[in-house]
Amino acid sequence: MRVWSVLEGIGWRPVASYFFMLLVFFTLLKLYAVDKITIGVMVAISLLFSAFLALVLYKRVIVPLNEVIEAARDIARGNLSRRINIISQDEIGDLAKSINDMADRLRHTIGEITAEKDRAQAMLDSMSDVVLALDRKGRIIMVNPAVETTFGIPQVDCVGRSVVEVIRNFDLDMVLQRVQATNSQLIREVAIISPEPRIFILRATPLVGNTKGGMVVLLRDISERKRMEQMRSEFMSNVSHELRTPLTSIQGFVETLQDNGTEDPQMIRHFLGIIAAETARLSNLVDDLLDLSRIEERRVVRRWQREDIGTLVDQVLTVCGSRADDKQIAIKASLQPRLPRLFGDPDLLAQVLINLVDNAIRYTSAGGTITISGLVEGDEIRIDVADNGAGIPAENLPRIFERFYRVEKARTRGMGGTGLGLAIVKHIIKGHGGRVDVKSVVGKGTVFSIFLPLEIPVTLPAAESFYLH
């Protein structure tokens, strides 16, 4: 019985082959050596030779083949680094080598595919825009991590759900439905209020190619851009209003002169005086606006260099000198000796001083004095423009640097100011990493101070638009 189970274990083919070989040997021996040896010896020799042959076959064929089979199974299971260690020169060796080569190539190809997939995944993961892939029925099949940072919804909660379950917005849903229906791309602005009110630009594109239906949805946050646009249009409307006011005045007086045809020369002179003043106001405003556009342009292409303060002051004196002389106002410069050079854009810095001196001239009566002083204070350079003019009331001081801010409409209208000069000053100095300050006593005078850092700022202040206050 044990013999039978062993034989069963080996299988009938090897056993049958063994007996076949036995028979062959026996027959050969019987045919060629029947008279030299007995039957018993013949049988014994046959048995021995057959056993020997079987052993050789086993070792040289069966064992390597089994190894090849096992290795192939291992590779198929996914162990792509498994190799067969058979180096014989026969066909089995070739088989082993071929399978090794195949495993090599497989590993290489899968490696390439994985790397490419990882690259694509990394691209999607690092995008700050939210990217969704939807199937034909509008269910999310893929989403990038941005959905978590933008909408606070975990990535895993999104897959399998429809968009409206995840980002609950009616307009968004409508757009996606339209894209599905018309199978064409749509780009829309969408306001989504949760988790915080923002405006997005939505791009929904139907997928082309072998994927049946479906679409890719891209959401980009443009709230900042919209905010800037709004501020810019607010500024524009402010400017238009500021332009309209003197124009209305001028128109009114011109019409009066034309209609009435008054012959009174004094009246005519009076009206013309007003028209001239308002025209000057308009002209100043336009000049300021031109300065502004220059500054905005400069904001992008700024020249940073070292400038001697004395040179700047000379420039200012050249520009403002005649106006000061007209009012018999003296401009004095009192600069500390050996002041370090300023680091910044020379044209813009000159503009700052011109604006400050101009203001001083405007609000100082005849015979007054304007003093420009410069000194080092701590780690800053301080430049003061002081006048002994009308002064600014304390309650107006905090807002004096705001665009279009006037102390008292009545008081400053006659002075010809545009309301932008100080705002421009503040903007430029801030852009240089500095700060502005003002001190004033009504009836005594005003001192405007600008502070600029001695050290070159390590990180230059971000170029901020004038429209963003």
Partner: protein, 219 residues
């Protein structure tokens, strides 16, 4: 298995529609409060116009729910889905109407400026209510009972702020009778927002009913 598949599809559609309706109501709440704060009559008008869409959607969803109940004779969880759906859209529709009321008040208040400093608290209250509505609808999507219960608890905070604003507005009227007109409308708005919060808790209760089958009063 065509009938079963169709039935599932209908229930799924009802759920999606309810979420769309919910998003419209959330938007209406946000827009109406913003319009009030900035006294933007045009924006208030928009809210009133968009309410038509809300009402229309409510009708459509209600019909779908009734249709499902009538033709499919749903059982257990599916039946609760349809019934809870109807409860939720009723609450949402009422919330939409209150947003219209807020917008109408804005239009009556326009031409002046909001002077009462208690107007500061109204946006705060509105924020909390906005969060409640969001949580309620989120709980509906995820079938999250805990979230629904937590949301209902926020109603206490809303009631507290409501009472506070009420007292302050009355005090303001006593002090500056000239502002009585404005105060009256703000009292209304105060009430409307508080009512929206109540309806939001009804949504929470509907979600709890949907998931567990229990009927709870959590107001």
């Amino acid at each position: 298995m065509a009938p079963r598949h169709n039935f599932d599809k209908q229930l799924k559609e009802i759920q999606q529609d309810i979420l769309r309706l919910g998003s419209l109501v959330e938007q209406a709440l946000y827009d109406s409060v913003q319009a009030l704060i900035s006294l933007d009559v045009a924006a208030a008008g928009q809210v009133i116009m968009k309410d038509e869409l809300i009402d229309q959607l409510c009708l459509e969803i209600e019909e779908k729910c009734v249709w499902v109940i009538a033709t499919q004779q749903p059982m257990a969880g599916d039946l609760r889905m349809a019934v809870a759906g109807i409860k939720i859209i009723i609450s949402l529709e009422r919330m939409g109407d209150h947003c219209v009321d807020i917008s109408r008040a804005t239009m009556c208040l326009s031409g002046g400026a909001l002077t009462a400093h208690s107007v500061e608290y109204i946006p705060e209250m509105a924020d909390i209510v906005q969060q409640m509505v969001k949580d309620g609808l989120d709980a509906y999507v995820t079938r999250n009972v805990e979230k629904a219960k937590a949301m209902c608890a926020m109603d206490d905070l809303v009631d507290f702020i409501y009472n506070r604003i009420f007292r302050e507005l009355i005090a303001c009227v006593k002090e500056h009778p000239v502002h009585a007109y404005q105060m009256a409308y703000l009292l209304y708005v105060n009430r409307y927002i508080e009512r929206i919060a109540d309806h939001a808790t009804n949504i929470g209760e509907a979600v709890i009913y949907l998931v567990t089958g229990e009927r709870r009063e959590l107001n």
